[in-house]
Amino acid sequence: MKIILTGNPNVGKSVVFSYLTGYTAISSNYPGTTVEILTGKAKIGGFDCDIIDLPGSYSLEGDNIAEKVASDIIKKSDYDLIINIIDANNLERNLLFALEIISLRTPLIFLINKCDIAKNRGVKINFTEIEKILNVRIIPIIATVGFGFDVLDNEFKKFTQNKEKYIPDIPVPSDTIEKWKKIGEIISKVQKIEHKHPTFLEKLEVITTTPVTAIPFALIVMVLSFYIIRFIGEGLINNLFAPVFNNYYFPVIEKLRNYISYDTLKMLVFGKNPVPMEGFGILTTGVYVPFVVVLPYVFSFYIVLGFLEDMGYLPRLAVILDKFSHKIGLHGYGSIPLIMGLGCKVPGIFSLRILESNRDKIIAGSLMFLVAPCIPQTAMIFSILSKYSILYTFIVFIYLFIVGVLASFLLNRFIKGISSDLFVEIPPYHIPLLKNMICKLNIRIKEFFKDAIIAIMAGIFFINILDILNILEKISNFFSPFFKNIFSLPPEISSVVATGFLRKDIAITLLTPFNLGLKEIMVSSFFLVTYLPCLASMMVLRKELGNKNSFYVMGFNFIISLIFTFIFSILLNSLKLI
């Protein structure tokens, strides 16, 4: 049995999908969380089903990529049933899509979700009446707590006995505006909205959207997020991960080191020397970097991001940033891929799909690589600059931000066309559910383990091999005049640059053994963040933007990186800031 899940964006399809399949899909409170098609297996009413979770769409006629993908699959009709999910808080707007799929004459079941929130907001829906009018079986649910799924099980059993009965046969006007008129009639019969005193969340919505208060609030949120991420990250490193590594893991490794007499193997596995950040052994640096330095920050970043996502703050931030974003050729929703990119570029690049035009995607993609170092890179920069004042870490990030803005400003001038306009639904705030937050954190940490840890270890192995074969030295010799004369960096850096795009976090770790000065660390950190995307994001970028455009983005960023590393080096050297 093949079932597809459809509905408007942000109605909770991914929560329903997770509940049914047990496979956890990332869900957040903003339109466009799911941009890919997810498939999973579930048992509904005792039957084995393949479930396909489609990206949310407002209409089968919609023109963004995610909507087109969804409507193509819906129109193929090679499935047994559509389960369409409706947000009880937004019944009216959700009914347009509902009427469109009713007119497809295919078996349907509707789930009306978020009934609890709707009730608190004074929305009363007459479910029996709407069921009668639409001629579709309707089940009220609260997906986050699993309410209503037993009813779905029973209904599904009935469905398997008589599928024809689930094909609605009411007349539906073909014109969109005529549909809205019909929806108006339906709503007047089935929905009553009681005026209630605004809840705390509703008041907060007003405060955080009204310009006078919203801008200071946004600044506070950003600064606070930065400090909380750092506080949790550093706290975990100093109180948990580093002590465990130093007191329990490392002594064991040191003992093992003595058992191995073959030098090359010893170097590969245990490193050249016992300092965890300098030795570059698979079991020393290869464990220290991902587990002790990076993982705590991945954890703390995604706690904060998860909270903001589930609350529904991101679309409001997009509205606030809209005016500014237009100056650099984007609309406010372009800030969402950037924020995702601060975690990891791969999901960041995927979420470029919420932008419509190629122009928007190129500018946002390019900006993402310049201003938004992913959390493993950020963690390494924090770590390598930790012996100096936090001011210098700030300078690096502020310089990244300025360069990114300047670069997008240029792109906006160079690329023909104008930026598209913001046009997005702003969902009401929700109180983040701990269960969903933990679930999501779990997925993201797993992704990190799956993609990053093996890649980090493989990267370290690869670099050691190059070193043993003396290839690193040859590369260094070739590029060193360039780095020495133009960026005033020690010639050894060139070997880091040559291998650093494999994993950016290793690239920055590779700087440690050189005992660089503060200025040199700052300049090389900037260069390593900006010069090329890491291998994984390069591949995803190519997939999303195509060969030509991704080549342009990388080429443009590479040139910007060279120019501004040069300027950074001159600034730091001549202004005597440090």
Binding site: I177, D322, I426
Partner: protein
């Protein structure tokens, strides 16, 4: 504000309208804009509520009981009249 036919119409663009209940009189744009807006419930004749206006930035409206942010360029093309 002049209408597409060139005649004078009473009405102002959504970006300049006060924060109030408004009736959409005309959408000055092509097929694409028309479709894009109508999918979200914004079409000629419908009543919307303007909630917020960011100076030279987006506007926030309420239509079909949901809030939608509309960029400046697009809101300039929506002609509305205050609904008493």
């Amino acid at each position: 504000m002049t209408s597409l036919e060139g005649g004078v119409m009473e009405g102002i663009s959504l970006s300049k309208a006060p924060n109030a209940k408004l009736r959409v009189l005309k959408i000055l744009g092509g097929e694409n804009l028309f479709k894009k807006l109508s999918i979200m419930g914004i079409y000629e004749g419908v009543i919307i509520e303007k909630k917020l206006n960011y100076k030279n930035g987006p506007v926030l409206i309420k239509v079909a009981n949901s809030e939608i942010a509309i960029g400046r360029g697009m809101s300039n093309k929506i002609v509305v009249k205050e609904e008493k």
